[in-house]
Homo-oligomer: 418 residues x 2
Amino acid sequence: MTELEKQMRRLGDNALKASRRLIGFSAKKKNRILMAMAEELEMRRDIIQSANKLDLQAAAENGLTEALTDRLTLTDARLDAMIQGVRDVAALSDPVGRRIWKRTRPNGLIIEKRRVPLGVVCIVFESRPNVTADAAVLCFKTSNAVILRGGKEALHSNSAIAEALQTGGTKAGMPAGAIQLVGTTDRDAVHILARMDDRIDVIIPRGGESLIKAVVSSATVPVLKHYKGVCNLYIDRSADLQQALAITENAKCQRPGVCNAIENLLIHSDIAADFLPLLKQMAEQRCVQLRGCGKTCAVIEGCQPATEADWSEEYLNLTLAVRVVSGLKAAIEHINIYGSHHSDAIVTDDKRNANKFLKEVDSSSVYVNASTRFTDGAMFGMGAEMGISTDKLHARGPMGLEELTTYKYVITGTGQIR
Amino acid sequence: MTELEKQMRRLGDNALKASRRLIGFSAKKKNRILMAMAEELEMRRDIIQSANKLDLQAAAENGLTEALTDRLTLTDARLDAMIQGVRDVAALSDPVGRRIWKRTRPNGLIIEKRRVPLGVVCIVFESRPNVTADAAVLCFKTSNAVILRGGKEALHSNSAIAEALQTGGTKAGMPAGAIQLVGTTDRDAVHILARMDDRIDVIIPRGGESLIKAVVSSATVPVLKHYKGVCNLYIDRSADLQQALAITENAKCQRPGVCNAIENLLIHSDIAADFLPLLKQMAEQRCVQLRGCGKTCAVIEGCQPATEADWSEEYLNLTLAVRVVSGLKAAIEHINIYGSHHSDAIVTDDKRNANKFLKEVDSSSVYVNASTRFTDGAMFGMGAEMGISTDKLHARGPMGLEELTTYKYVITGTGQIR
């Protein structure tokens, strides 16, 4: 066993031990600990921001992109939001122990299906240091032990935040090992963790596609993938064009760097001649770069032609690929082939078309006449979220507290035998 | 691409195509197709049993064990049960389309969480040919396309059954590709399928531990493991000893070859001197071979000593490992370490101990004062089952129709933007 393997195994052992203790914790006790974490974060604002400055210095020296540097930066407002987030999670109701159903069988056996923690959760994420707090408290609230692995560019910030959570939590009775940060930036650490199926119950990789693919390929631990969002908006023949334009603008421009922003716009050929000029105007006003199919380029002069690769690209910026399609069927096919099964919308006044779209588009969130930007735990009324799963098993779409639990069957008898 | 890879990819393409069509099928249409399958099986009884004879001949020539030969044999009664099973699944209610919840958000968005099919399911199983029909109809009922990979010793039987399902189904409007059997016995086929994550949504390996481990290790498709059942029964200090004995006998002897039979018996040290003689007598009457810890062997003369390996062994026969433990805490620890998180029971009259056991034993099904033999879809009132998952994610314990679905969020708006 290498030194790194030993290190990771120790993390796993500590987490497993902590998770066994967390099973017995009441919601009240967990909330008290969460409030102590928030308080400790508050007290350590300066320490955390100094640590963040170290990361930002290194980022400048290493020429990190502006977008990544922005994600890395812990402004006062972001720190406030992070601390408030911890308090908000304390206020959410605890799914652990909740009864899903209860039945009495003809032989008198009482069978209950009850929510229980997953056990040990490992999260792999990128540059945003506030994820350290968000993920840790959601796992703790659901009585899971968590192993956090953040991006190397945020190591100082993440360490300072994790230390605050650990210190605050420990003061209020949190077991050691409940929240642990992987201290090394060695990439192999992730692959070792992903094969520790005797210690870790699930690994949740968020971020770059290549990282996620690498984890999936080597993992024996079940993986909940948070892949990219290649979201699509389809404007049907019967759409209200002004509504369609407003939704297009919102879904593309309101926050282009997030996974529920759209990358592709599909337009029914019958209305393309009417809608494309409106789109062109909006694009010019909002500095949106269009990449069009042949028919789009024929209407919008000077539009850059889209290539096959454009249909499955997650731009994360103000680029929009535009394709004129022959109708609903072609739109659904396009979305199921090129999309990432995240969030897709139709604008239509035709109820039958809406229903066909909702049924046949194979994505976690399907919309009629609304912006895809609403795919988010808070917007769905689920409370805080760990991220948005692009998987179909266990958790699909926003992953909230409930998705951090599993269930067990509890059977009470009076001596029944078979 | 090898010829085998091309073959598997064709199966995947066909399945994906079929699954897209199945999404639009009503429960009524699916049930009509299921009844047609049952009828075709009925008409082909002779063909199926002739095929089964070929497998049995080969089994005799290859010296297959008696237990495996028994599993392979399609008696009249088993064929009846298989055909009735298809009709029973037609009679079950269809979870697809069922609403999990519906909310109207403050901005007027209507958000529904609805059950939808998983898509393409791949099942890998061993010698029992009736699994071909059971698994195929459960998947079909939930609008999933299925790829079946049975044991090579049952290939003739499985082919005859699959052909009957396909022919009967097709007559009633089932799309080609909805039910497919892997025609080759090449072991590599499973590993190719397990990496086809662009076509297959889940792979469910049932059977031998080494097969399952190999699938998990190479898979990029999510795996739902159906590992072994190392089930435990703990007799607490306050147990009614006659009830404890009856449950021990039932859980071990009623059908020792199944996964929910017990392999380990744990006894509180305070009652060991009273209980072990009763156990000895029962074991002699029922031909149960005991393997005991030191304390057990000190009371039961001539008892074979248990080794460390015995505590995690799935005997699947009339062997029972017996350990005297210092109390509840030690029993829970033993079960969480050596058990397979399948089904575990406590016999006790102490409510607090019962609750501690139910909470802290980390298994899919935890029992108080009843036999572990009840872990089964039908016994839990869930209807037919695909098997019993030892995983924590997505499906835990008996996997019925609902566990063969996932969900999507359906959002209906009137132009909402963010």
